[in-house]
Amino acid sequence: MSLVSRWVYVLLAIPFFGTLWVPLYDHVQPTLFGFPFFYWYQLAWVPVSVTLTAIVYLVQRSSAPNDLKGPA
């Protein structure tokens, strides 16, 4: 496993800091489309975490031995 493919797993830790450190987002301002920050910030983490997991998935798939990919 290359250095890049090993370090890419660090990306999976990011959503934990982003969503579990509550003082970061426990406020109303700035609002977006009428949504207080508390709500739109957490909703925004859904696409962000999908992107991060997708990157890890693509990197590990391209670096993994063929038998890991399962039946095509």
Binding site: F16, L20, V22, G34, Q42, L43, T53, Y57
Partner: protein, 512 residues
């Protein structure tokens, strides 16, 4: 209301037909437990996505999460970070569990634990914990159905008052018996189509009636909208919120119905892809949670037509009332069918999962070791009936608050299997007897913490050196569990107590 009832019954009939047809879908030898109980491990990425989505986001969630937001505000939104942080963990651990299960023919997580640590007793404890935690979860699905049937006035009178619920459940039990995991997998597709339609419609149509999102949030008191600043010498509710999200994520991954859904996939790659794409449901869940504020802004609990509903079902009535107030009757039928079908899918998977545990790790491990494969499957099918009717009797005979209480305890209990299952995937360092002692310590500590709040809350305010950190009791309890495992392993290894033989040694743990 007749249009609603007609649409509702038509959709219910559709999924009943699908359920009974399921045993002919992708035919396999249904006398094998891996065929009945795991759908033959043949589900591809798309079916697994529907199956796990239908499994993890239950009807109770659709009722309870908005109800919590309606009643308590921001705290109820923990469901969103909960279902965000779950997937990176799933991405790491579940492909490993899938791989070892596939290679060794394991049907349950307890199978893995038993073989990995060469300890039938540990397998039994993992299985019993799983069954104990699952039963009240099934019961809550029934309560979700009850609320909707009540809103549709689908109640018999006198001794027949629960007849519609019983009929729905007997039908569910019958097609789960014949089709196994295939039945909920097929129905999940309909369920998710209905849920997405309902939620997306509701979050567009209903706010327009209430003057838009800004006006809705403006009606919610500031104390509900965000958390107050923590009091001195305490982290306040902020740590409660974060640990509730993290602990619930760890717990949900350990529930038998999650493991069953994962093991039904056809490859480790399918599991990884699903960890990437399942959060689509989390987004919908976040929107759904906000329905609680719509109900709040519409003052539904003060309207005369809903007064008896709220008196009977409490905040759980918020979502059904919201739909009836603002959506056309035919669409109310669609929405209510979505909730009921959304209860049937997880209830079916949960009963299959509990039946697999009973068959493998109690019946075969202790009662009838020489049982044939066909005998195993027969036992599991019967066990799935017992599990479902046990939950039904529980819901009909015991006040609802006890089901909720037991479900809260279930989360604290199931997380105690995390060290055996997840740590076990990475290392065999913990001693098998240390895992047993740790489990026991975690169960006792977690239950005691919940008992200290009279089982009303799962947030336990731990005070160390004058500083209070309120946190989800499951997290504290699993930390106790892990600490005991470390100490007990040191002692047992120093005493040279045998650690048994690793039954997974010849499996190449090829995934990372």
């Amino acid at each position: 209301m007749n249009a609603a009832l007609g649409i509702f019954l038509a959709l219910f009939l559709l999924v009943t037909g699908l359920g009974f047809w399921a045993n002919r879908w992708r035919p396999g030898d249904l006398s094998l437990l891996s065929e009945w109980g795991l759908g033959g491990r043949r589900f591809g990425s798309v079916v697994t996505w529907f199956l796990l989505g239908g499994d993890l986001y239950t009807a109770y969630t659709f009722i309870a999460v908005p109800a919590l937001v309606f009643g308590q505000g921001a705290l109820g939104f923990f469901a969103l970070p909960y279902t965000i942080v779950m997937y990176p963990i799933m991405f790491l651990i579940m492909p490993k569990l899938w791989t070892v299960a596939r290679e060794r023919g394991y049907v349950t997580a307890a199978d893995f634990v038993e073989q990995r640590f060469d300890c039938r007793m540990l397998g039994l404890l993992v299985a019993v914990t799983g069954i104990l935690a699952t039963m009240p979860y099934i019961a809550l699905q029934l309560i979700g159905i009850q609320v909707v049937l009540g809103a549709l006035h689908l109640e018999g009178t006198g001794v027949w008052s629960d007849a519609p619920l019983i009929i729905a459940f007997v039908i569910l039990a019958a097609y789960t018996y014949t089709g196994g995991l295939r039945a909920p997998a097929l129905i999940a597709v309909v369920k998710d189509a209905l849920i997405y339609t309902t939620v997306l419609t509701a979050v567009v149509v209903i706010p327009a009636h209430l003057g838009g999102w800004a006006a809705i949030f403006a009606q919610v008191p500031a104390a509900k909208l965000t958390f107050p600043a923590p009091p001195p010498h305490s982290s306040g509710i902020l740590s409660g919120y974060a640990t509730l999200a993290l602990g619930s994520a760890l717990a949900l991954l350990m529930y038998p119905h999650t493991v069953t859904g994962v093991l039904g996939a056809k490859s480790a790659d399918v599991v990884r892809k699903n960890a990437v794409f399942l959060p689509a449901y989390s987004f919908v869940l976040g929107l759904l949670a906000l329905l609680g504020y719509l109900a709040y802004a519409a003052h539904l609990n003060t309207l005369p037509q809903f007064r008896s509903g709220f008196a009977h079902y409490g905040p759980s009535y918020a979502v059904p009332a919201l739909f009836m107030r603002f959506l056309p009757p035919w669409f109310v039928g669609v929405a209510f069918a979505a909730i009921v079908i959304g209860a049937l899918v997880p209830a079916a998977i949960m009963s299959v999962a509990a039946a697999n545990l009973f068959t493998r790790n109690i019946y075969k491990a202790f009662l009838h070791p020489g049982v044939s494969e066909a005998g195993e499957t027969r036992t599991a099918k019967l066990a799935s009936l017992f599990v479902k009717f046990g939950a039904l009797i529980f819901v009909l005979g015991v006040p609802e608050k006890y089901a909720i209480m037991l479900q809260l305890l279930g989360g604290i209990w199931i997380i105690q299997t995390f060290p055996s299952i997840v740590v076990g995937l990475y290392t065999r360092w913990p001693h098998r007897y240390a895992l047993i002692v740790g489990w026991l310590a975690g169960m006792i500590a977690g239950t005691a913490m919940a008992a200290s709040t009279s089982f009303k809350s799962v947030i336990y305010p731990l005070t160390i050196a004058g500083y209070t950190v309120p946190a989800y009791a499951a997290i504290y309890a699993v930390l106790v569990n892990l600490a005991v495992i470390v100490v007990a392993t040191w002692i047992l290894k120093a005493l040279r107590v045998g650690a048994g033989r690793d039954g997974t040694l010849d499996v190449q743990m090829r995934s990372i």
